[in-house]
């Protein structure tokens, strides 16, 4: 098979390196290499295996939002953090995460429906998520208001390291009762004093 004569793996590695965080789809690879997508997939799978097998490698191939790209191995993150600064290191707020979770699992969904679930106004988290390109308007709901419907974006998949939306963990049906405990205690530790004398000021 010609795959063994032409150094396909090496070529794909070059291409992935050059593409950087834009990544490459199987289709693009197949086009550039003038091979079938299935063959491209085979090559990339082999390359991924090589990377995985070799503990000495510091980089690896990851699949993100339908593209393949090179990335550093997670184990080395401590050293990388010393080397580089991530300008937008700020992570999403709790409100934004909840809102995003609802959109991810129930898309397409209107703001009113999200607010119904959360029990609070959700304008600001939606605004933030739109600005961060994690969600987008995907249409309009039927009905008098013709409200916007929201859905997740490609950037959403990239941001959370997902290959595709189907890869989302299943929505928890049965919840561990302890999960809230820590943050809750934190709050009540702080406000214990006034809590003890609620009527004092009256």
């Amino acid at each position: 098979m010609s795959i063994n004569i032409v150094n396909w793996k090496g070529i794909v590695e070059s291409l992935l390196f050059a593409a950087g965080d834009e990544g490459l789809t199987l289709k693009q690879m197949a086009l550039v290499l003038e091979i079938e997508e299935l063959q491209a997939e085979e090559i990339i799978k082999e390359l991924m295996e090589d990377y995985q097998k070799d503990d000495m490698r510091g980089i690896t191939v990851i699949e993100l939002a339908g593209t393949y790209q090179l990335a550093t191995k997670k184990e080395n993150s401590a050293y990388l953090k010393r080397l580089v600064v991530t300008p937008q290191a700020s992570t999403l707020s709790q409100a934004a995460l909840e809102t995003l979770a609802i959109i991810a699992y129930k898309q397409p969904i209107t703001r009113a429906e999200i607010e119904e679930i959360r029990g609070v106004k959700t304008e600001r988290p939606i605004h933030t998520l739109m600005a961060k390109a994690l969600i987008k308007e995907v249409g309009r709901a039927d009905g008098s208001g013709r409200a916007y419907l929201y859905g997740t974006t490609k950037e959403f998949l990239d941001y959370f390291g997902l290959k595709k939306i189907e890869e989302l963990p299943p929505l928890p049906e049965k919840v561990d009762e302890d999960y809230l405990q820590d943050e809750a205690d934190l709050f009540f530790d702080k406000v214990q004093l006034p809590l003890a004398f609620p009527g004092e000021g009256q």
Binding site: G20, K74, A133, F160
Partner: protein, 253 residues
């Protein structure tokens, strides 16, 4: 000092607060003691008011709902049925059931948000590189005027990627530069500052660095120093200059 950190958004809304209370009281979400939960809920709302925090209207609506459920449950069964029949209302279980349903539904997404947080963190452990500059390979290639196939969101998405892209530290050092300023440190600095000059200083001169974090931390530090009787603040008249001085014999901090 600590309660200055409490924000109204310590909870993500009335449902979140209820879930918290249910957890704290170690009760079953499907078997909520209405009287107790209502009392706890109102106590919380009251606390927020004592702390002079805005209580969003959603919290008050929920308080009313809880009170309505509670008072209906206090009525003897037959009277309540009569009342319901008269008013054409359902049973109190319906309202409670509805609330439990909402809590269960909301809890699913709150839990999912925990997963999302974890995924966000995991993804942050991997670093990528920007696309290489391939202009040398494309000198003689003319871009074609083809149909575009991108949306505003693609553009925003690309821009986000750019913003998230890591940059080499310059100058390279082994420590990450940005650090939160502990209030204690700022308190000590203010005291040193005031004691060194032995005269009162203008309130405004105590804010040497005018970024938000510094202003807030300095302000909190001053409040704490006032509380501990370590500094003294005077103002001769409305809108006139505010002066700050160190108290004599204040505890060494």
């Amino acid at each position: 000092m600590e309660h200055y950190n409490v924000k109204i958004d310590a909870f993500e809304g009335p449902l979140d607060l209820l879930l918290h209370l249910i957890n704290r009281l170690e009760i079953d979400i499907y078997d909520i003691p209405v009287a107790e939960i209502t009392e706890q809920y109102l106590l919380y709302i009251h606390t927020m008011q004592v702390l002079q925090l805005d209580v969003a209207s959603e919290y008050l609506v929920m308080a009313a709902t809880l009170l309505a459920i509670k008072s209906k449950m206090l009525l003897p069964k037959h009277e309540e049925d009569l009342l319901d029949d008269e008013l054409g209302l359902g049973h109190e279980e319906d309202t409670m059931e509805e609330l439990v349903e909402r809590l269960v539904e909301y809890r699913k997404y709150k839990e999912a948000a925990v997963d999302f947080k974890e995924m966000e963190k995991e993804r942050g452990l991997m670093f990528t590189k920007p696309p290489s500059d391939l202009s040398d390979y494309a000198k003689d290639v003319q871009p074609e005027k083809t149909e575009l196939n991108v949306s505003l969101y693609d553009m925003l998405g690309a821009f986000q990627k750019l913003l998230r892209r890591q940059k080499l530290q310059k100058p390279l050092s082994t420590k990450i530069a940005r650090q939160e300023i502990p209030i204690e440190t700022r308190m000590a600095e203010i005291l040193d500052d005031l004691r060194q000059f032995k005269v009162r200083k203008s309130f405004y001169d105590l804010f040497p660095v005018l970024d938000r974090e510094n202003i807030v931390v300095t302000f909190l530090a001053m409040l704490e120093l006032i509380k501990r009787h370590e500094i003294f603040i005077e103002q001769e008249g409305n809108f006139s200059e505010i002066y700050v001085s160190a108290m004599e014999g204040g505890d060494e901090y």
